[in-house]
Amino acid sequence: MSFPTGITNINNMAPELPVQASEDLLSTPQFNLIHSFGVDLHHAETYVGKTTRMSRFERLSTDGGQLDGSGIDPASEVPTRTDIDATMEIYAKSIVTNEQVVLWENSKTLTKFTALLGQWLREKEDLLMRDLFSSSVSYINATGGTNGDQPSNISLNDVNNIETILLGNDARTMLQSIDAMDKFSTGPTRDAFIALASTNLTNDLQAVQGVLLKNAYPQQAGLRPEEYCSISRFRFFVSSKGAKTPGISMLGRTVYTIPMYGLEAAAKIEQNNYTAVIGYRPPWVVSSVAQNSQLYAKFAIARAITNQNWISGLNVTTRQAS
């Protein structure tokens, strides 16, 4: 309602510009990147093909070996070598922008679009590593939970079972221990393997016997924001993009896959001279009337499970159906 008045107000003189841009753009959502930081990084040379071979000599047998004084030499042993191969693959994304957007948009679009492409590079790499873990590793169904499903929700027994497997295969822990300190409600963490889980599991992780939530670690310095808790010999990192398969449990629930591993279990290989390229194609190249420009990002990656003995994991469901 507008009242007749002699006062100049916003009813009879509305702002010339009805909207202004806030001083900062809002955050672009980014999921937790948890699937790459625990793997080894290798580099592939150029001009020598697209397949990288990583080799490991297996240890010699410790059976026998004692000399009995007869002068007869012990049997020699032929060392064996395991070759792990990975094929380089290239991924790309582009944004084509009309000149009128660049001309009139307030937020310096080309700069922002470049940042978006940079985020895409990291997110795509993370998902590719997740897919490696979900496709090429053996997982064991959790059975210690109480939800009556197969697999069950996660329990301490299930976590300890994976620790037994990894220790039995001489896997090395990845994270150093955090010593106890004289602080209320905190507890030390042991040197630990890492576990990667979906954020849908945080409710269940909190309920596992002996869980130490991140805030109860004696020190917070140096912890990654993606870390959620410590259970037994594992420190759990969570992402909304953690691997899951809907509707395939015995009761028709979503099954979540949790890779759990130690040092040198997996690797990603970057291609020399081709890693994380971000480029710009000007309008006179992209468009016949020079109206559209293009930003692009591309990267090369190869990925591999380098030692199956040092990686295992769990399939779990949740206590509340999901």
């Binding site: 070598r81 496709s135 064991i140 499903d149």
Partner: protein, 340 residues
């Protein structure tokens, strides 16, 4: 909205579904049944089909659906409707994400025999070689969640070469299946184990044909929960010395003759029995046989880790009333993208 044709092609149908890999995302897809187009077939044969992507908003095509142009019985008159209007017709399924989950509708089974090989009773439109994921089984709880490759397929059932269930206490009486991609996101991939013999060189049966993923010379790592009996095999790594595509078996250089017998846990042990017995890729052992000059460990098609299922792709369902047509039909197809 101008369109760009991103790719096109032609194939002769086998009557089964066809997977068309696309070099980029697609917004519109068409098929033409060149064989049936000039004919006046006796049934509601599809001669043209169309699919609309997510950029069409509310007009986008649902999974396993699309618009179909079909002949009226014994005349050349054309009628249009959607694949979903007829339960016997399946349409387009566009898959653009990994893990690859083709959103095929759940399909109920009426039984799985406790026989070797097991036989499944189910009204279905699957094809030989499809990979089927079982879940929610009533009876045979020990296989719920596993994937199996199917053969001897008919509209009323199929055989699971990879499941020798004669030792199971009882058949399954109900459950559900869903077709999944033959390849996971990354290859070589883990496989489900259904049997391991006690032998000087153990013979390992998998739930799918292992020759699609593994070759002689590759190493495999075993994960065998205690509930499967042959716990001595757990966490061992062996080298493949033979692959049998017909029987879904791999022979490895592990002497299992003194091991405990491999056996599925009883259905009644679920959900507390640990599942599943699996194998996973563990590299290769590179060797040369001086007698045959056969070198193993250099098969980069299989042993190198690489993308398994390329995405995006368009799955065309097979059959006379579907976009991929009946056997011997020539199908032209074309994929479009809205111009940038």
């Amino acid at each position: 909205m101008p369109f760009t044709i991103i790719t096109g092609g032609s194939f002769t149908s086998t009557g089964a579904g066809v997977k068309i890999l696309l070099p980029s995302s697609a917004d519109y897809f068409q098929t033409w049944n060149i064989t049936q187009m000039p004919l006046a077939p006796a049934t509601a044969v599809v001669v043209k089909a169309e699919w609309f992507g997510s950029k069409f908003g509310f007009g986008a095509t649902a999974a396993n659906d699309g618009i179909r142009w079909k002949k009226t019985n014994s005349t050349n008159a054309l009628n249009m409707d959607t694949f979903s209007t007829a339960t016997a017709s399946n349409g387009f399924t566009y898959v653009s994400t990994n893990p690859v989950i083709e959103p095929q509708a759940a399909n109920a089974i009426t039984g799985i025999t406790a026989a070797s090989p097991a036989v499944v009773s189910q009204t279905n439109t699957y094809s030989d070689g499809d990979i089927i994921q079982f879940y929610g089984t009533t009876g045979m709880l020990q296989i719920s969640g596993m994937n199996f490759q199917i053969s001897s397929t008919s509209g009323s059932g199929y055989t699971l070469i990879g499941l020798r269930a004669a030792g199971f206490a009882a058949p399954a009486t109900a459950g559900f299946t869903r077709r999944i991609s033959k390849y996971l996101a990354v290859d070589p991939q883990f496989l489900y184990i259904t049997e391991i013999t006690k032998a000087t060189s153990a013979v390992v049966r998998t739930s799918v044909d292992p020759s699609a993923y593994y070759v002689v010379g590759m190493k495999i790592h075993f994960s065998i929960p205690y509930s499967f009996g042959m716990y001595e095999m757990n966490q061992l790594t062996g080298t493949i010395i033979a692959v049998d595509a017909a029987n879904y078996t791999l022979t490895v250089d592990i002497d299992s003759s003194a091991f405990t017998t491999f056996a599925f846990p009883a259905s009644s042990a679920s959900p507390t029995a640990q599942l599943f017995a699996t194998l996973a890729p563990a590299g290769a052992r590179t060797q040369r046989d001086p007698n045959t000059w056969v070198e193993t460990g250099y098969n980069f098609q299989y042993q190198a880790f690489h993308t398994g299922q390329f995405v995006p792709y368009m799955y065309l369902s097979g059959g006379a009333q579907s976009p991929a047509g009946a056997a011997d039909d020539v199908i032209n197809w074309m994929a479009y993208k809205l111009e940038n």
